[in-house]
Symmetry: C2
């Protein structure tokens, strides 16, 4: 059963003179986080689960907004009786800083100038996103999270939390993620950024209230969609099926279904996501390296939580071997870690669509965390 109607809430902190010191050294504030909660926080505040979203996600993880056509982005995983069971757990999800879905980001109004930040927004990191959400958890009066979880970028945030705030976390569920962005992952983001920044309408990030960099966003989104699917799932879904045509057109309009699918996804992206946020969040991902000093083993010396690490066999954007390296480093530190490589054709998108397998794993894992 899905959550019923939910509303987004807002929490503001880091107001002058107490700005947040970002990893770059820049002082920044005020910061507003948009967040949602599902279920009830219990009396001893021991049933809270923090969900982190992926690059283009938001705080609306589950349930329905009034008049919405679709529920939250991880609705099949969060609700009464579901994997993150809202009859048992108090589930929180916040839009990350740098985003464009209610939390402070490049499209937010800079109170100092009364204009959108645009590219004057400071470069933020995964670490900054995690630190800012710690303020939210403190604000909610939660001393220790039962679990922090997320897929893709969300997994990096849960991982960062586990080593940065080890005493505040019982467990972490890391799905389709990594511990540092590799050359190929950086390369794919860099192409997407160049596509956006080379669109004349991007205008050095100053396009708010003007024509949007639609073409650049479309190209960046098309690249994204190719990387989120697997070669096999694209073949199964589209193959060489023609779009609205009896035969090849011998022109440069769209011939194949896969072309029109990508064009449609690309064209609609600029309406639902801010181009500058895409630049900032992709940069935050590329900057992330938990093994900054080169030694992944050391990083987990202070970690205390129990871990569930999930990968998908056909995910070529965040391949399983990267999580295996992570799991080896955890095990070498005698951490309690379970690792599952789910066999599926859905590629990186699996964390959003392979609900049945993930649900069983998450349910069982959470019941065991509670039983300790």
């Amino acid at each position: 059963m899905s959550q019923s109607f939910v509303e987004t809430k807002y929490f503001t902190f880091a107001e002058s003179p107490n700005e947040l010191v970002l990893k770059s050294g820049v002082k920044f504030g005020p910061i507003t986080l948009a967040y949602e909660t599902y279920g009830q926080l219990n009396a001893d505040k021991s049933n809270a689960i923090l969900i982190f979203h992926a690059l283009t996600g938001d705080a609306h993880a589950a349930g329905w907004h009034k008049d919405a056509k679709a529920p939250g982005w991880w609705d099949p995983m969060i609700g009464p009786g579901r994997a993150f069971d809202t009859d048992k757990y108090f589930v929180i999800c916040a839009n990350c800083i740098g985003g464009c879905k209610g939390s402070t980001g490049p499209s937010s109004i800079n109170p100092a100038s009364a204009k959108p930040y645009g590219m004057s927004f400071p470069v933020i990191t995964i670490e900054d996103m995690v630190v800012s959400q710690k303020y939210l958890i403190d604000h909610l009066g939660i001393k220790k999270l039962l679990c922090a979880s997320g897929g893709s970028m969300g997994g990096l945030m849960a991982l960062e939390w586990s080593v940065r705030f080890p005493d505040t976390l019982e467990s972490a569920i890391l799905i389709a993620t990594n511990y540092k962005h590799t050359a190929q992952q950086i390369a794919l983001h860099e192409v997407a950024r160049q596509a956006i920044m080379s669109d004349p309408h991007w205008n050095k990030g100053d396009y708010y209230g003007k024509e949007l960099p639609a073409q650049g966003m479309a190209v960046s989104r098309m690249i994204g969609h190719i990387t989120y699917m697997s070669e096999r799932s694209m073949e199964e879904k589209f193959g060489r099926k023609l779009q609205d045509k009896e035969k090849l057109g011998y022109d440069f309009s769209q011939d194949f279904e896969v072309e029109s699918y990508l064009r449609y996804r690309g064209a609609s992206f600029v309406q639902r996501f801010d181009a500058n946020s895409y630049l900032y969040l992709s940069k935050a991902l590329d900057y992330f390296d938990l093994s900054e000093d080169g030694d992944l083993l050391k990083v987990f010396k202070g970690a205390k939580s129990k871990f569930l690490v999930v990968t998908f066999t056909s995910d070529w954007l965040y391949p399983s071997y990267q999580s295996k390296d992570l799991v080896r480093a955890m095990k070498a530190n005698d951490l309690d870690v379970s690792f599952i490589d789910i066999s599926t054709n859905y590629g990186h998108d699996s964390f959003l669509v392979e609900i049945e397998g993930q649900s069983k794993l998450v349910k069982y894992f959470l019941e065991n965390v509670r039983a300790r």
Copy 2:
């Protein structure tokens, strides 16, 4: 030893009223092919090998042009004592139609208008490229090729020749190729095309003598380079190495070596290749499907040549499984086919860089073809 100095030659055919009928049904001509030859054609004209180039290749496969800084694109494979041994064989390579390196393509002058064709150039196919090169082979007085060979797009052309002109071919060497473009391959090309066509300087293909669509070409080339390398080879070559920096810059200039590598490759591409040719040739690739009626087995019923099929384990753009399907269909037709999946990290680029392994295979294969 490399070939010594070589010069490009030109052959023109399909002049009015004998235009070539393209696969689309359009009649087109005149057609000029730029081509080079290496070695000597023997008395009975039985030692000719036709090499087909890949998407952005050209007729200059081997040897040195006067004052050039680098030899031809497959020079380590072609020359005295090399895999395609010019002491034994007469090697021919022609720029395909639709290209921009001397053969008739979108940047050529349309004799009817005295202006470049631009997007008035007809959509061409792999089949059209092959048919046009058959005119060249006839012109050279060669009745039967000892071998047709190529990597990537060049492999498709060699494959097409083997079923279209079976009586004119002793053998074919198909490297890092496929028999039909899959959804992912089409998708990657479509993103590259959209990147070019959304550059305002592309100007519906009418940019000759004006500002070039440099940004769109750069983005399309960056995507290309990611697909030509493997995830592992990118990691080995670049990892997270920083470019000209002691530490992360916390800005949107280039931080990582992989970013500056891609930017450099992207920026230089527009100088060496025509944007419209990239559109036409990528479209020709996407259109190719040897199993057009759905039955790959039937296609080889008339084929007669001996085949060597080579793939590379880390090539994710043209994965080995696609060639394995091809080999199965050949074997089911009792064709003489050898298949090798070379273990390497270099990805699709392997056909250009894994010289030692390929040389041994090609040499041995060609000696056996001759011995029959």
